[in-house]
């Protein structure tokens, strides 16, 4: 884990209110794995007080990318930064995706900004796996497939691809999935992950999900980010340290 002042190399608006930010962060770029995240101090003042967690979206040499949605005060301040400004980045944090396993096809399932961690994962997977990406959004503008390939889209309003959510989309394409040695990698809103858990259990698919939770520290000292274990009723995992990526079987969503 490193704490570095990372100069912004580039910051662009990908879509309305969706930003992509390229940071010079050699130590992190060298050590980060897909699915891990960084915790960013978006201002030098106490407003906002806490860091903001973002998945590492991609890595290129000494640079890391983060992709983010402008939601509240923190992401608004971040979106207004300029090239050359420096932000303080803590990372890499958490456990990323486990993609060394014994599977042939990696199935990506992304809902909305859940697309964030997958450019990096897809790049790594491309070396020796087949890849199939299911990407959902509310409307065609919300279908974020940055860095993905072989994308099958869905939208809530039907404005692009299948009309429905990502899990319904996958169900609809079950023939593409059945009888494959596959592993699902998913990220998106909790209701989507919940539906996906059911879907993958039913179909006996291996599935890892990247979860989210309000965080204070990001590295295990505040106990602020529990997620209940599905095996032990007395146990919580910490999203920041034991996750954010979990085998979907291990957690209660």
């Amino acid at each position: 884990m490193f704490i570095i002042d990372a100069p912004i190399e580039e910051i662009i608006e990908l879509e309305n209110q969706i930003m992509l930010c390229k940071l010079f962060a050699p130590e992190i770029a060298k050590s980060v794995k897909p699915g891990q995240f960084v915790n960013i101090k978006v201002s030098e003042t106490i407003a906002p007080l806490l860091r903001r967690p973002f998945s590492v979206c991609d890595v290129e040499g000494s640079f890391i990318y983060i992709m983010f949605n402008v939601l509240g005060e923190g992401t608004k301040l971040l979106a207004h930064k300029f090239k050359g400004e420096t932000i303080n980045v803590l990372g890499p944090l958490g456990r990323g995706f486990n993609f060394d396993g014994n599977f042939e096809t990696a199935v990506i399932a992304a809902g909305g900004l859940g697309a964030a961690p997958f450019a990096f994962l897809v790049k790594q997977l491309s070396k020796d796996k087949k890849i199939l990406c299911f990407v959902g959004g509310r409307t065609s503008r919300d279908v974020i497939d940055y860095g993905m390939k072989d994308v099958i889209p869905s939208t809530d309003d039907g404005s692009l691809g299948f009309k429905g959510n990502v899990v319904e989309l996958m169900n609809d394409n079950l023939d593409l999935l059945e009888n494959k040695r596959l592993k699902i990698f998913a990220c998106g809103p909790t209701p989507m992950l919940r539906a996906l858990k059911e879907f993958s259990l039913k179909n006996n698919f291996e599935c890892e999900v990247s979860t989210e939770c309000a965080m204070a520290c990001g590295f295990g000292i505040c106990q602020g980010c529990p997620i209940p274990s599905s095996e032990d009723a007395d146990k919580n995992y910490l999203v920041c340290k034991d996750g954010p990526v979990f085998n979907v079987k291990d957690i209660i969503l």
């Binding site: 007080l49 806490l50 803590l90 295990g220 000292i221 505040c222 106990q223 529990p226």
Partner: protein
């Protein structure tokens, strides 16, 4: 240059500098040890330990507020046995003084924890948490009851020879009474303050944002309140004070010492910058050199009113 003396005393407890890490904001030291050399610290206060493990409250447990944060962790901890088995051994690898914070749902539980841990050489002192706002039993139930705090102090003192520090709540108007009873029952010091009770609602769902409904407010927002409580104790009760609440910089440390603190604890800041404590220690040294202060401890209660 190196003649500056940063060491402080809290009763019989001697620390090489006044900077402690606050309970609940540093776990049992292992995660933060990836960022800093624990041996450089004045000490570490461990996450509140209870007799049995506690799972803590369901999420959402934390929430950012203006200049602060609310937490309702609910004293999630590994429990006494596991603490002894796996956490103390890790900490033993360091020379940093360990202050073991104890939380409990009954007076007996406090006593039982202290008795059991008394033989652990790695522990330099106990901090008795009677002021957690986030659990139904213990916590504020005791924190607002002067007699209970007196009884707990006396009974814990009776089972241990280690210094006993009682951590006080800022949620009452009579912190002096609590400091007095701690002193009277033989307590070695008080820590002030724990968090202020606060809440927040989601305006769309109309539900509290924290599952526990209320949480404890920490961070720079509460600094003026902490300082006022510390000054109040310092002016009225002759007992060492460990100052806590919203410390963000070396300047804040000096301010807390002037207001009456013998040592201080850094809490929320650890989440924002886990290396801050070490930077602050070195800045305190620079300050002493620059202003010709031989003994940092001379600042304690040096206010001019």
């Amino acid at each position: 240059m190196s003649k500056v003396d940063l060491s402080v005393k809290i009763g019989t407890l001697k620390l090489k500098n006044p900077v402690l890490l606050a309970s609940g904001t540093v776990g049992y030291g292992n995660e933060i040890s990836e960022f800093i050399d624990l041996n450089k610290l004045g000490g570490i206060v461990t996450k509140s330990i209870s007799l049995n493990p506690r799972k803590g409250n369901p999420p959402q447990r934390i929430l950012e507020t203006s200049g602060g944060m609310l937490n309702a962790i609910g004293l999630a901890n590994v429990g006494l046995e596991e603490f002894i088995k796996s956490k103390i051994p890790f900490l033993k690898g360091y020379k940093v003084p360990i202050i073991c914070n104890i939380a409990a749902g009954s007076i007996d539980e406090y006593v039982e924890c202290a008795r059991t841990l008394d033989s652990e050489e790695a522990i330099s002192a106990f901090e008795i948490n009677v002021s957690c706002p986030n659990v139904k039993e213990g916590g504020l139930q005791f924190g607002n009851d002067v007699n209970a705090v007196g009884t707990i102090t006396g009974k814990v003192k009776a089972v241990t020879s280690k210094p006993v520090i009682v951590k006080l709540s800022p949620n009452g108007s009579n912190i002096i009474d609590f400091a007095k009873v701690v002193k009277q029952e033989g307590g070695d010091a008080v820590s002030a303050i724990n968090t202020l009770v606060g809440t927040s609602f989601d305006i769309f769902t109309r539900r509290p944002k924290l599952k526990n409904i209320t949480g404890g407010l920490s961070g720079p927002a509460i600094k003026p309140v902490a300082l006022a409580k510390i000054l109040e104790i310092s002016r009225n009760v002759d007992i060492p004070i460990i100052g806590i609440g919203g410390i963000m910089s070396w300047k804040d440390v000096i301010e807390f010492m002037i207001a009456g603190s013998s040592a201080i604890q850094i809490g929320t800041l650890n989440f924002i910058d886990p290396t801050a404590s070490i930077k602050i220690i070195s800045e305190l040294k620079d300050y002493c050199i620059k202003y010709g202060i031989d003994k940092l401890s001379s600042l304690t209660a040096s206010y001019l009113l």
